[in-house]
């Protein structure tokens, strides 16, 4: 039992990283990105590719893949989403679904549909014990890394000019425009950040568990669930939500593997019905 | 003057605050049948908040609002519309890809108690369009119509809802003086049908010309309530608009 909690928490940071991007896009731009999970998977598979086929060390591969994923996301925003968003915002839901399908199918064609996992050699000691549970060093390092990345994102949003624009769009869209903030540029930058942090999450995840192109939808749902648990508009909430979700996901795949997806969805439904603003949310949970 | 008449609308110590901001402190006033009340005040004074409270888009934090004696405080907007309190909206809110006729017809189909009995929805729509002199635009798409005519559609739509009380929210915004004067005349015709009007405006001339009474709201409180001429000369009102120095000279 205790080991389930610990392993769940270790992965929770990664889930949170993926969810930040999703929550940011929903809060700032106001769209549902069904292609979100694709960024996670893309980042992970690209990291794997860079590390195995091109022989890059893990950390540079990770960062490079994250940046590439961010660029992909920004490009998608500029070429596709921006256009549809101005005329029929409700259609963006479907459009991103289509984009997810296309990118996934292309991924399957070029990379094959099998799962991949990355074995990373580190010079670290194998691990240490917390109580009766053995914690692999690598997992722990990734956990720290995910917390650090979350911190970097937090600083980005609180301290930079980009962050100010993001907060303005999220909290008061109409006056943001009046205050001279370039909406389309801010949206592209937001998507870039979302893609980059999701790609990072994917690159970290693939060093722990397998990833395959068809898993993108699961990641979109996971991110949404984390956001629902933690609350829209609160980074701390998403972080906590990610940790909680990590434990829940690990626990359900451990104890009730056959119905794990149903458990996920039932939790989702319960939250949506009874606490849509999440644990820490700012009350705007049911905006269209 | 008030007294023997029964008020149509009573706003009783209405208050609204949220998240630490006090939008409305304590406002009370009445609107009687067959009267036009102008509601004025500086920006941010709470006029639109008051509007949203009456029409049910926001909940009261304190006090009560009654229409013909019945409290509106926990009713949904559609229920309030059904009781006869109908409003227009500040941003143009027409259904763009529908015809002018259909835009008004939606209101007719769901009209409330105040409309004339025995009319079909289609007749109601036609009457409203005629009152606002836009029947000839019936088949045009609403989004292709000029600004002035869009305001008329708004009024027609509100009239088609069968109001006892019509509330307009800065309906003259963005109009040149000629168009504005025409809208004021339309509202006069509406009033002539026995519908009371709460008229929120910045354009002083229109307010003075149309209103039987003027209520002034500033910083969440009512600071004047009386016939237009009186209110215009009131030192409190002048100081709110022009600053304290000017008031002393009156």
């Amino acid at each position: 039992m205790e080991d389930v909690i610990i392993y769940g928490l270790l992965r929770g940071g990664i889930y949170a990283l993926a969810a930040f991007g999703f929550s940011l896009v929903l809060g700032v731009i106001g769209i549902v990105n069904f292609a979100h999970g694709v960024f996670v998977v893309f980042g992970g598979l690209l990291t794997h590719y860079l590390a195995t086929k091109l022989g890059l060390p893990y950390v540079p591969a990770l960062i490079l893949a994250a940046v590439a994923t961010g660029l992909l996301a920004g490009l998608i925003q500029r070429l596709f989403i921006a256009r549809t968003f101005t005329s029929e915002p409700l259609m963006v839901l479907v459009q991103t679904f289509g984009i997810a399908t296309v990118v996934t199918e292309l991924g399957i064609h070029y990379w094959g549909s099998q799962e991949r996992v990355l074995r990373v050699e580190t010079g670290l000691p194998p691990g240490f014990f917390i109580g009766n549970t053995f914690v692999p060093s690598f997992d722990f390092v990734l956990f720290l890394l995910s917390l650090i990345s979350a911190g970097v994102l937090y600083l980005l949003i609180q301290k930079t000019r980009f962050g100010r624009a993001v907060r303005a769009c999220r909290d008061e869209r109409q006056s943001a425009q009046l205050n001279g903030i370039n909406l389309s540029r801010t949206f592209e930058q937001t998507m870039f950040v979302s893609g980059a942090w999701s790609g990072l999450a994917g690159g970290m995840f693939i060093a722990l568990s397998p990833l395959a192109p068809y898993m993108d939808f699961d990641w979109t749902i996971n991110s949404f669930l984390v956001m629902v648990i933690g609350g829209l508009g609160s980074m701390v909430g998403v972080l906590v939500g990610g940790l909680i979700f990590g434990v829940l996901a690990f626990a359900s795949s451990f104890y009730v593997p056959t119905v794990a997806p149903a458990v996920t969805f039932s939790i989702l439904l319960l939250f949506l019905l009874f606490r849509p603003q999440g644990l820490f949310g700012s009350g705007q949970g049911t905006r269209k | 003057m008030s007294g023997a008449r029964i008020p149509l609308l009573e706003v009783v110590h209405a208050a609204r605050n949220f998240g630490g901001v006090v939008a409305l402190k304590d406002v009370s006033f009445q609107v009687f049948p067959d009267e036009v009340v102008g509601l004025i005040g500086p920006n941010g004074a709470g006029k639109t908040t008051l509007f949203n409270l009456i029409s049910g888009l926001l909940p009261l934090s304190g006090g009560d609002i009654r229409l013909q004696g019945q409290s509106l405080s926990r009713l949904r907007p559609d229920q309030i519309c059904a009781r006869g309190a109908v409003r227009t909206f500040q941003a143009t809110s027409l259904l763009g890809n529908m015809t002018v006729w259909d835009n008004v017809h939606v209101a007719s189909l769901f009209r409330g108690a105040g409309g004339r009995a025995g009319l079909s929805a289609a007749e109601c729509t036609t009457n409203a369009l005629r009152l606002c002199e836009i029947e000839h635009l019936s088949d045009m798409a609403a989004e292709q119509v000029s600004v002035g005519d869009q305001k008329r559609i708004e009024i027609a739509r509100a009239v088609a809802s069968g109001p006892r009380l019509l509330m307009t929210d800065e309906i003259l915004a963005g109009l040149n003086p000629t168009d504005a004067a025409q809208i004021v005349e339309i509202l006069r015709k509406v009033r002539g049908q026995g519908i009371s009007i709460i008229f929120v405006e910045h354009d002083m001339r229109s307010v003075m010309s149309l209103s039987d009474r003027v209520v002034v709201i500033a910083q969440g409180l009512k600071i004047a309530d009386g016939p237009p001429r009186e209110v215009a000369r009131s030192p409190d009102v002048i100081s709110v608009y022009l600053g304290g120095r000017y008031a002393q000279g009156v």
């Binding site: 029929e88 479907v94 399908t101 996934t104 949506l272 | 600004v147």
Partner: protein, 337 residues
């Protein structure tokens, strides 16, 4: 240019007559098909009819009301199970089961109306959750698993010939479209149109928004239930895999959006167009099937978000000259606190 909504209020009766006339033409065009083509194509035609029906139903909640139900296939699947259980376990006739299918799904839709407290994504995912919950229940509950203890589905004897099924479905679809035409032009249609655009505004016009969302949802759920019940003997094996496949939901959404959401003819055109593309890619580009589908969605949503219908309209109508005193863009109602 967006398609113009014209309700049945003004020149109402004339417009309805025109729409029903087109429906009659549609019926006449499709009636002789079993005599003109071989069995393979008749089967394809049945699937096209079912897709038209499902898309038209989804259009009521997804297109007219603007609530994208991502789990809507659950009603089709439930209808199929109702049909299968009724026919196999209780020996009831198909006609009765079709009605039962519609009733069961209608009631279930009614029970799930709390999910309407949310909008957009939240609603979409809630509806998906509903689908998965039923997916699990149907798989585990012994009453629905099959006739015998270790069954994983229901074998349903086809009670009609292929031609019989074709005309059954054709009849169902014609009635379905007829009810959609009536609904779209009625008070309900106006209400849905208004609330899709802006629920706050609709409410202020006297429209009880929740009531009409429920009406739309129940209507859009009942018809797939009816179609599902008829589908049971047609497909002859009903299991969670065969009738609760995500592809039914995806097809109905896609067909509606591709053709044009919020119009009567959109889902019909979309379903037919997609079936044509499906047949072509299946035969010639099997590997790229899903890729092409995805690319189509992206193309339509990016370049013609109103669907084929709006594309057609913008090509055939001259764009109106912008008037100099034209109004500022029409926007949503902003409620300031």
């Amino acid at each position: 240019m967006r398609s113009l909504f014209v309700g049945s209020g003004r020149s109402g009766a004339a417009r309805l007559r025109l729409q029903f006339a087109w429906l009659a033409v549609f019926a006449l065009a499709l009636a002789p098909i079993p005599f003109l083509v071989n069995d393979y194509w008749v089967r394809v035609a049945v699937f096209v009819l079912i897709n038209i029906g499902l898309a038209s139903s989804w259009n009521i909640i997804g297109g007219f009301a603007g609530y994208a139900s991502f789990g809507h296939g659950v009603f089709f699947g439930l209808g199929a199970f109702v049909g299968a259980i009724g026919i196999v376990r209780y020996g009831l006739p198909l006609l009765v089961m079709m009605v039962a299918g519609g009733l069961v799904t209608g009631v279930i839709a009614l029970l799930f109306t709390p999910i309407f407290k949310q909008r957009g994504l939240y609603f979409a995912l809630s509806s998906l959750a509903v689908l998965l919950i039923f997916d699990n229940i149907l798989q585990r509950w012994s009453f629905t698993r099959g006739l015998r203890q270790y069954d994983v589905g229901w074998s349903v004897q086809p009670s009609l010939s292929l031609t019989g099924f074709y005309y059954t479905f054709l009849g169902l679809i014609l009635v379905l479209i007829g009810t959609v035409i009536l609904l779209a032009g009625s008070r309900v249609g106006y209400a849905l149109h208004a609330l899709r655009r802006d629920e706050v505004l609709a409410s202020s016009l006297g429209i009880r928004v929740l009531k009409y969302k429920v009406i739309a949802f129940v209507f859009s759920a009942a018809w797939p239930g009816v179609l599902g019940a008829a589908f049971a003997p047609f497909i002859s094996f009903v299991s969670v895999q065969s009738v609760l496949d995500m592809k039914f939901t995806l097809n109905m959404i896609l067909a509606t959006l591709f053709g044009g959401a919020g119009t009567v003819i959109g889902p019909i055109v979309g379903a037919i167009a997609l079936s044509v593309i499906d047949q072509l890619t299946w035969g010639n580009f099997l590997e790229y099937h899903r890729l092409i589908f995805g690319a189509l969605i992206v193309a339509i949503t990016t370049f013609a978000p109103g669907g084929l219908v709006s594309l057609f309209l913008s090509l055939t109508r001259r764009a109106p000259k912008a008037r100099p005193e034209a109004a500022p863009p029409i926007g949503k109602v902003k409620v300031s606190s």
